[in-house]
Structure formats: C-alpha cells, structure tokens
C-alpha cells in the first residue's frame, strides 16, 4: 500500500480502470502529454495512447457534448474540465442532454460519463480558479454529484463514478491535491455513490462537510476534543446528489445539533438543502438550529483576501460553540 496524494490517487484510479475496461476514455484540455495542468492524468497517454487519452481543442461544451456521443456509443468517457470555473460553457450540455438522455429516450440511450474538475479555493489562484458552484449541479435532475475529501476516498469514489451507468460530476478539491498523503490500497475498490461517511464519531454535534472542508471540520473537532469542550461527529457528505439523508438524520438524532460547512457562497448553497432536510426529518431531535459556515455571497476574492472568505477551523469552532450554547 503506497502513500499517495489526491492527484496520484486519482491518476491511479484512472489508470487501473482504463486497464480493466478498454472502453474508458480520458479527454480534455492538456490531459495528454502535459498530463493535465495538475498532473492528474500524468502517464496515461504514454500507457494508453492518444486514441484513449485525448487532447481536445479548447472548448468545454465541445468536450462534454462529444463525450455524450461517445457515452451513447458505449464508451465510458472521463472528461476533465481544467477548472470548475470553466465548466459553465458545458452547463447546457450537462443540463439539457447528459442528465436527460436516459429519460428522453426511455432508457434506450444512456450517458455513463464522468466530468472531473478541480474546484474550490485556497490555492492562491487567479480569478475563476477558486469557484465552488457544486449546488448548481446538485440541483439538476439526472446528474450525480460527487466530491471526495481525501486520496483514499477519491480513488474509490472515482472508480465507482466511472462504473456508474449515469453521468457523474466529480469535483476535486484543488486545495487537497497535494496537501496530504495517505495510504491508498494498490488494488481497485469502489466506494458506493450516494452514501455519506462518518469520519469521526461524536455525541454533541454533527458537522457536515465535503471536499476540502472535511479536513477543516476535523481540525475543529480535534481542537474541541483536546480542550474537552465538545465531542464532535464529523460527516463527509461525499455525494451531494443523490443525498444520503438517512446517515445525516441518524447522526443528528444522536447528537441533537448540526452545522454544515462549505466554501460555496452562502445563499442557495448546498448547505441549505442539508439544513432543510434536517428541518424536515429531525426537527424533534434538534436542540439548536442547524447553522452554516460558508463563503460569502460574493465573488471569491483574489489571494490577498482569500483567507477571509474560506471557512477555517476557527470559524467552525466558534460556530460549534455558539450552537452548543444556544
């Protein structure tokens, strides 16, 4: 078992799945010789050739639209969008076609497509490179939305996403890409989509997060534990759509309190859906309102002010304390 970072874990997941299934195709801007701007597809073109690792022209709608045709034809395209801030030209293809070809054709044509992309801030990047718009995808019927939090998760979730018979939008936390290394099994494994994961058990409050914020939540939990101030349960949502509300509800039935953490803008962010679900399914267990630690309803600021925008353990700790004291 090797220690891999998130980039390496995804690269390995792609490589192994491409070995197992000759219909898996990787395409996108600079995914070939360059190995992707984050090197996620490093080594793939050398191993599988240009017919299976395809450098495309610079056109996101083209990438996703063409991949839909490939998927309809029985291939399993894994499309990379260079940054999630550049996926919007492809939004139409995702919303109007990928998500509904199965419905439209009553099951005859299906789109087993994965669209991978880095998302989120914390990497001191240019405008449009720190976006976190997962909610705009999680609301689209017919799309699954998956966000891994660490290398182990990423390998298992991506493998499951590629094997899934329907389109999956796979957001990779850019900030985590090279931030941590962990043991990742050499053999293939799947982590089922649609199932949240309890990362840390606790009795007092449930903190729900995804992507890079899972680490933030854990850090806050450890800190509060060390100080004996609260016993925090941390849940990694993993899949925003379809949502695993059962795991959330079970946790909150136990803890009686909940906090959602995401870096996307607050209003209409996916935290609202989590909160609404707990309102509907767990209100009698709630000892305090479910709250949210989020980005602001603003454009993510450039690097000089970015840290004020991003949730961090301090904010999460403060909010937990606030909820405990409610």
């Amino acid at each position: 078992m090797a220690r891999l970072n998130l980039v390496e874990a995804i690269d390995q997941a792609l490589l192994q799945e491409m070995e197992r299934d000759a219909d898996v195709i990787v395409l996108g801007e600079d995914v070939g010789r360059d190995g992707g701007v984050f090197r996620v597809t490093d080594g793939l073109v050398e191993r599988f050739g240009e017919e299976r690792v395809i450098d495309t022209p610079l056109a996101e709608s083209g990438i996703v639209g063409m991949a839909i045709g490939m998927a309809i034809s029985g291939f399993r395209p894994v499309a990379e969008i260079q940054f999630s801030g550049f996926v919007y030209p492809a939004y139409d293809q995702l919303v109007s076609h990928a998500s509904r070809m199965r419905t439209r054709s009553r099951g005859r044509f299906t789109v087993p497509l994965v669209v991978r992309m880095p998302y989120g801030g914390g990497i001191r990047a240019l405008e449009h490179h720190s976006e976190s718009m997962e909610a705009a995808f999680a609301h689209v019927p017919g799309l699954k939305v998956v966000i891994p939090a660490d290398p182990y998760e990423a390998k298992g979730l991506l493998t499951a996403a590629i094997r899934d018979p329907d389109p999956v939008v796979f957001f990779e936390p850019a900030r985590v890409y090279r931030a941590i290394k962990m043991d990742v099994p050499e053999e293939q494994y799947e982590i089922p989509l649609g199932v949240a994961r309890v990362v840390r058990e606790g009795r007092d409050i449930t903190v729900i997060a995804w992507g890079a914020q899972v680490r933030v939540a854990r850090e806050a939990a450890e800190r509060l534990a060390a100080e004996n101030r609260a016993d925090v349960e941390v849940i990694d949502l993993r899949t925003l759509s379809p949502l695993d509300s059962a795991t959330l509800v079970a946790s909150v039935e136990k803890t009686g309190r909940a906090l959602v953490v995401h870096e996307a803008p607050r209003s209409g962010g996916f935290g609202a859906e989590v909160s609404a679900q707990l309102m509907e399914r767990a209100i009698l267990h709630l000892q305090a309102p479910v709250r949210r630690v989020t980005g602001f309803d603003t454009i993510p600021p450039l690097s000089k002010l970015e840290d004020y925008y991003q949730p961090d353990a301090d904010r999460v700790v403060d909010e937990i304390v606030g909820i405990m004291e409610f």
Binding site: P57, G62, G65, I68, I72, R102, S105
Partner: protein
C-alpha cells in the same frame, strides 16, 4: 516582403434536376427505378402525415410541433441515403427521416402528443431522439462518429439542423472537433431561409452556409434542397467519403419553410405571402413526380394510389396512437437513473400515496 495569397477556397452548388423534372444524366446518383419509387413514397407519406398531424394538433389531440411540408426534398433523401449501420442525429424538423429510418408513425404521434414513451426509438434503429435545444446535438454526432471510427465500423453519422442552428456556438465547436478528429460525420443543414421570424440574411453575414466549413478545414457544399437527386447524390458521396476515412463535411440544402414555424406560430406576422408562394411553386414532391412521369415510373393513377396508400397508413397509425392508454405516473421516475435513488423512491411513494388517496 509582400502581400501574398496563402489559401483559396471555393463553394460549389450541386443541381441535378430542374424544376421541370429534367435531370443532368452525368450527375444522376446511382438509384434504381425501384429505389426512386420508394423514395417518392416516403416523401408523399411524410407530406400526408404532416398534414394529418396539423389537423390532430388543431383538434387538440397533439401538442405543438414543427411541420416539414416543403422540406421533404431535403431531409427525406438525406435519410434515404443512409445505410442501416449509419447513425442519424436529428434536430426537430425531420419527420420524414424518422419514418425512413424505421420509427413507427404511432410512436412519433405519441411523443408529440405529450407522452414520452413514444420517444423510445426501436432497438436496432441508429437514430437519436428529437433534440429541441437548437444547435446542441451536433456534438453528439461527433462523439458517435468518433466511436464508429474507433471501433473500426464502416459507418458514418448524419446530423441535421436548420440554418439558425449554425449561429449557436455548439455548431462551431462540433464542426471544429469533427475536423480535428476527422470524425465520419456529415453535417446536413436544411437552410429553409427562416429561423422563426429571422430571415437568413440576418442570421449571418455569410452568403452561404456551405462556406462556414472553411473555418474548420473541412469541405462544404451547397445543393438545391428541393432537388432530391442533388441531395441524395451529395449526401451519399459525403457518407462514402466519411466511411472511407475522408473525414467530415458540411452540406447546405437550400430549401424553404413554406409552413408556419410550428403550430404555435403565425408566419404572416413577419413575412410576405409572395415569397411563400414562389417557393410553393418549387415543390420537391411535384418535381420528382414530373421526373418519374417522364420516365414512366409514375402516372396519374399511380400518383393517386401512392397518396391513398399513404393516407391509409397514416389513418392506421392515428388509430393505433389513439388506442394507447394514458401513461402511469410512475413513468416520471422510471428513467432518471438506472436505479431508483432514495430521494426518487421517496418522491414516487409520496405521489402514489397522494393518488391512492384521491382515488
């Protein structure tokens, strides 16, 4: 140091049969009398079906749809030129192509009647369902073409669209990807001069759609879209080239939308009746009939027989369509994903409970 010409391009126009049904023998495609008769039958069937659909729509038995009358000379021979192994990726104004390719009329009616079950293209028919968002589907054709090539299949894809669709960015991306990947795709534009109320000359400053191919390094050609032989010949050639590894091409079939845009539209608001009249006089079915009569492939009695045969088939389809039971509300959840996810199961259950209560 100088100003030099580094590239030149020309756009050709293909015409085989004149309005009187006289053909240029040198350009005639290889079509047996039987095949020509068959093609004529499809065109007539398409026309009668379209007219019947209009009546059904006016009676409230169908929803809004886009008529094809006057454009049978374009999309019908194009579909007719396809082999079974070829794919077709249509827009929304190709009723005749659906029929030619093997979609049942009653299914087609069912879909346009607001019941998505009619959209299940029969297994074995290589055709995607109607694509409503203008310009978006050509990229799927490129992906399918890429897949055919990668699998080594000797087949190509024909994707059809209106001239309005060429203004959408996706058209450009599809053409460019097709060029770069040398995908076996024939881009078939029914330039019917209008995109709802916008005339061609305001859709683009390019004098032909065909010349749009230049920007992608692929061949483009214009044909008389009311001349079935010009269309058939050009499409067949383009398909053959594509199958043989010759890459994509663009065909502009110049025709005319003699009807309203859809059954919700009133074209008199924005265009002159005289223009429509001119084009009605260029009817593609009549033109083919003239040719066939000259060749002894058709006489007045035969003409009437084809029409009444078509009417009969349409009548049967309408009866079959009307006999279909209303869909079960469960259908709403049936094909969202391969499996019924937890939220969908819950929502379906809620709907079932609601309906049980009401019943």
């Amino acid at each position: 140091m100088a100003i030099t010409t580094v590239a030149t391009f020309g756009v050709e126009r293909v015409e085989v049969m004149d309005p009187e049904g006289v053909v240029d023998e040198a350009l005639m495609p290889d079509l047996s009398p039987e095949r020509i008769t068959e093609l004529y039958g499809w065109m007539v069937l398409t026309r009668r079906f379209d007219e019947r659909m209009l009546k059904l729509q006016r009676q409230g038995r169908l929803g809004t749809f886009a008529r094809v009358t006057g454009q049978e000379g374009a999309h019908v021979p194009a579909a007719f030129a396809l082999h079974d192994e070829d794919w077709m990726v249509p827009a929304f104004r190709e009723a005749g192509a659906f029929l030619v390719r093997g979609v049942k009329m009653e299914d087609f009616l069912q879909y346009w009647g607001g019941d998505e079950r009619g959209n299940l293209i029969p297994e074995g028919v290589r055709m995607l369902p109607t694509a409503i968002p203008v310009g978006t589907h050509m990229l799927h054709a490129v992906g399918i073409g890429w897949a055919l090539k990668r699998r080594g299949e000797k087949a190509a894809v024909l994707t059809s669209f209106g001239e309005g669709a060429t203004s959408e960015g996706d058209f450009s991306e599809a053409m460019n990807f097709a060029g770069v990947f040398q995908a076996p795709v024939v881009f078939f534009c029914q330039n019917n001069q209008w995109a709802i109320s916008l005339p061609y000359y305001r859709q683009t400053a390019a004098c032909t759609v065909a010349q749009k191919a230049v920007g992608y390094g692929i061949p483009g050609v214009q044909v008389d879209g009311n001349d079935v032989f010009a269309v058939y010949r050009t499409v067949a050639e383009a398909l053959e080239r594509a199958c043989g590894g010759g890459g994509p091409s663009l065909i502009e079939a110049v025709t005319y939308r003699v009807t309203d845009h859809t059954t919700s539209d009133d074209a008199r608001r924005y265009r002159a009746e005289e223009e429509v009249a001119t084009w009605k006089a260029r009817d593609p079915i009549e033109r083919l009939a003239k040719f066939m009569k000259k060749r002894g492939l058709l006489d007045d009695a035969g003409e009437a027989a084809v029409a009444s045969d078509a009417d009969q088939r349409v009548a049967q389809a309408v009866a079959a369509f009307e006999a279909v039971d209303a869909p079960n509300p469960d259908e709403i959840f049936e094909h969202v994903f391969a499996e019924l996810t937890a939220p969908l199961a819950e929502q379906r259950e809620a709907l079932r409970r609601r309906l049980a209560k009401e019943a």
